[in-house]
Structures are given as structure tokens and as C-alpha cells.
């Protein structure tokens, strides 16, 4: 997990010490990166030039360095970590098995094995 905003590393340090450490025991354990000038956010399509900040955007990157998922929100609405973790588990399952995971899949639930035999028969196999 890497957190990125346009704040300086100094501000990150004080935010961790003054506020985050009071919300999360020991503070957040992951690196807090400084995207001064929004150059990194611009490459990831999340830099709001008018406001001069990176809006909420999160990206799941697999071990081959391929982006598997992105979610971008305007700042007013916070994220759902449960959905982030669900997606990571689903991508890890797909990577390990070659199966695909239907809508809302949770670990342990039915997966689908894509192939000619499954065409038109998803309704028989997958009953959410």
C-alpha cells in the first residue's frame, strides 16, 4: 500500500503524528508519498489542475506490474476497504487458477471456468 497526495513529506509526518496515530494505533504503516506538482497524479489521470490536488484514485497493480483495477472518485465520498480487499482476493484467485469470478464473488464461492462448454449455461452453474 502506497498513499499519495500533493502534500510534502513534512506535512505527511505531522499528519501521522498529530492525527492518524490517534485514529490508527501506531499510525499508518505504509509509505506516504509526496506528489509535488501533481506530475504523478497527472500520469494516473487523477490530478485536478484547477484545485491543484490529486483526487481519490486507487489502483491495484499485480506482481507483473500490470494495473488490474482503478477506482476514481471526486473527493466528497470516501472509499470502501472491504471492496478493495475483495477485488485483490478475486484477482489473486484468477491469477492462481485461471478461473473467473462472477459479480460480488467472495472467496469460497462459485467461480466460472470460461470455455465453449459454458456459453449459454452460466444460468445453470451460477446461482447467486
Amino acid at each position: 500500500m502506497l498513499a499519495v497526495s500533493t502534500d510534502s513529506r513534512f506535512v505527511h509526518k505531522i499528519w501521522q503524528e498529530q492525527e492518524l496515530s490517534k485514529m490508527v494505533s501506531g499510525g499508518v504503516p505504509f509509505p506516504m508519498l509526496s506528489d509535488a506538482g501533481g506530475k504523478i497524479g497527472a500520469v494516473y489521470g487523477v490530478y485536478d489542475e484547477a484545485a491543484g490536488v490529486d483526487i481519490r484514485g486507487r489502483f491495484i497493480i499485480d506482481p507483473d506490474f500490470v494495473i488490474r483495477a482503478m477506482e476514481v472518485l471526486t473527493p466528497e465520498v470516501g472509499r470502501n476497504p472491504d471492496e478493495l480487499i475483495r477485488q485483490i482476493k478475486a484477482f489473486q484467485h484468477v491469477r492462481a487458477t485461471g478461473e473467473v469470478t462472477p459479480s460480488g464473488w467472495q472467496p469460497g464461492q462459485t467461480t466460472l471456468k470460461p470455455g465453449p462448454a459454458l456459453v449459454g449455461r452460466v444460468w445453470e452453474v451460477w446461482k447467486p
Partner: protein
Amino acid sequence: MSEMRDNCVQPARGPIVPVPESAAPTVGAMPLQEANKMLAHVGKEAPDFEANAFVAGVGFKPVKLSDYKGQWIVLCFYPGDFTFV
């Protein structure tokens, strides 16, 4: 925390632009393919970058995205420290 002692202004590399494979000269605008390579897309390689960072228990250090190659990475942008949500 020796890394805590650094200058007020510490440039980081920011986005790391891949070197074009062909040495063919480009005139005017960058070819669309090259420009697209630098932007994040699902199913495509993540654009690499280096940024200055604060790491709890370590201090200040530059972090490169590709340092984490081989692991699952969550890259999380947010509007600012001390904001409300």
C-alpha cells in the same frame, strides 16, 4: 533516523518516462502510442515513478513504484492530509 536530516527542497524524479524503443526521430507531437504508454490504463503496465516519502519508523526516503515489483501493490491517491473524509 539519519534520513530525517535532509534539505528543505529535495527533488524526486516524479514520473519515469520509458525510453522509446526506436531511435526514429519524432517531429511535432509525440506519437499516440508513446503518449499512451505514459498514462495509466487497466490491463497495461503501471507507469513508474519516484517520489519523496515519509515512512513511519524510518523517516524520509525516496520511494520508487518499481521497488515493489513482484508484489501486489495498492496505489492510493487522496486530496490532502488533514482533509475530512
